[in-house]
Symmetry: C2
């Protein structure tokens, strides 16, 4: 018997973004799969509907490996269907499974079991922000979240700036949306005025905005600014520092 | 007068991948734009056709900023249309403009000129490979090409392995396709047997394959192997090392 495949299915980053997020092939694949491994059953069902799922949702088998379940059930148990010849879909709550989101442990287990893994094209906020920043895309690093406490956070920002200059590397990080304003404040206080800073919010959504300019321009108030407050909006932060910033 | 926007349009990574690459919104956007900035006019016209361009190609204005032209013409001259109120599209030869591909300098200039930049969802081999590897997607770095000479190349591979272990960071790099086999050989010779190594080839194409396993498994010949020779096929290499590899 041939094993089923594990399809990695990116989902929209914002509401009203289905047309900008799904490809013809991802919509088709969704209509051929009846069993899913998802980070959150409720949002997963919403995404499947947005993607144009034709079969009744009651016919689907959905394994929820969300926050409260992870670790309790081994990843291999979710993959049983693939070992029995049926295809499976993996979805997270936004963007690509396993990238700044859970899911990688399920993919790793699929490889261990010899199950073929098929990544589908779709939205990812890190990549969209990098493309839109105009910063170096030949060398970049994504670091997840900054430390929460002020001291370590400032130190980390300075470290990322130093490394960006030394390596000519774009540094990318995220923050829980209710801390956006305090992180932006921290960045503008800590970074060299010549360092380039990009903030991309609500990517693919109707209120999407990408502001990319030097820290000096951010500070002066003469550069671009956000049309609406950043607070609680999904944001990606990117910086690119020039060699040997003067301090 | 309102400025036009600069749309960043990802293009397919392989032949016969249009349905897996374009979203409804990207196809629609392509049909609303009549002026493009592209890395290669010939392939750009092919992609526009694959995306379902409805207007005659003879009506398009295409600015080619390929290898031989870059540097000769300032990026700002390509962006004139946007300053005059018309939308523009930016495309590279594969995947996302500006990511492991030229284009970032055009985006940076758009920001300087106050032109709104809109990144569209589409294929990117780095992101697809990372998602499919099962490696850490909370922290990762893309480094472009390895050094060509043997000595520096081995040293770089060891450095990436060390950094991956220290930072719990997935390390990603590419190679010109005719060097794939020699790079894989180098990796299997140099890396610790417990380090995880993923090679993803022909992503989104009919011969796509993703092999992700420990270096020990790669070496033993008992793990997965490629159905066809790697030579000259577009490939992404990823590694993830465990803390304190024994040497």
């Amino acid at each position: 018997m041939t094993f089923g495949k594990l399809y990695l299915i990116p989902v929209p980053l914002s509401d009203h973004a289905a047309a900008a997020s799904f490809t013809e092939f991802s919509r088709q694949t969704i209509n051929e799969i009846s069993e899913y491994i998802v980070e959150n059953e409720k949002t997963a069902r919403k995404f499947l509907k947005q993607a144009g799922l034709q079969r009744p949702q009651s016919e689907l088998i959905i394994h929820d490996y969300g926050k409260h379940r992870r670790g309790e059930v081994p990843a291999s148990s979710y993959l049983k269907a693939a070992k029995e010849g049926r295809d499976l879909g993996l979805m997270s709550e936004a963007g690509c499974p396993g990238i700044a989101d859970p899911g990688a442990e399920v993919v790793a287990e699929a490889h261990r079991l010899g199950i073929e893994v098929v990544p589908l094209v779709g939205p990812n906020s890190i990549l969209l922000a990098l493309m839109a920043s105009g910063f170096n895309g030949q060398s970049f690093a994504f670091h997840g979240y900054l430390p929460i406490d002020k001291g370590p956070r400032s130190a980390r920002v300075r470290e990322l700036e130093r490394e960006s200059a030394q390596r000519n590397q774009t540094q990318i990080f995220i923050e829980t949306p209710f801390r956006n304003n305090s992180v932006l404040e921290e960045l503008l206080k800590t970074l060299d005025s010549r360092t380039e800073l990009c903030v991309a919010v609500d990517l693919t959504g109707p209120t999407e905005q990408v502001v990319s300019q030097s820290v000096g321009q951010w500070r002066s108030g003469q550069g671009k600014s956000f049309k609406e407050d950043l607070h609680k909006r999904p944001a990606i932060f990117l910086l690119h520092a020039h060699k040997q910033p003067k301090r």
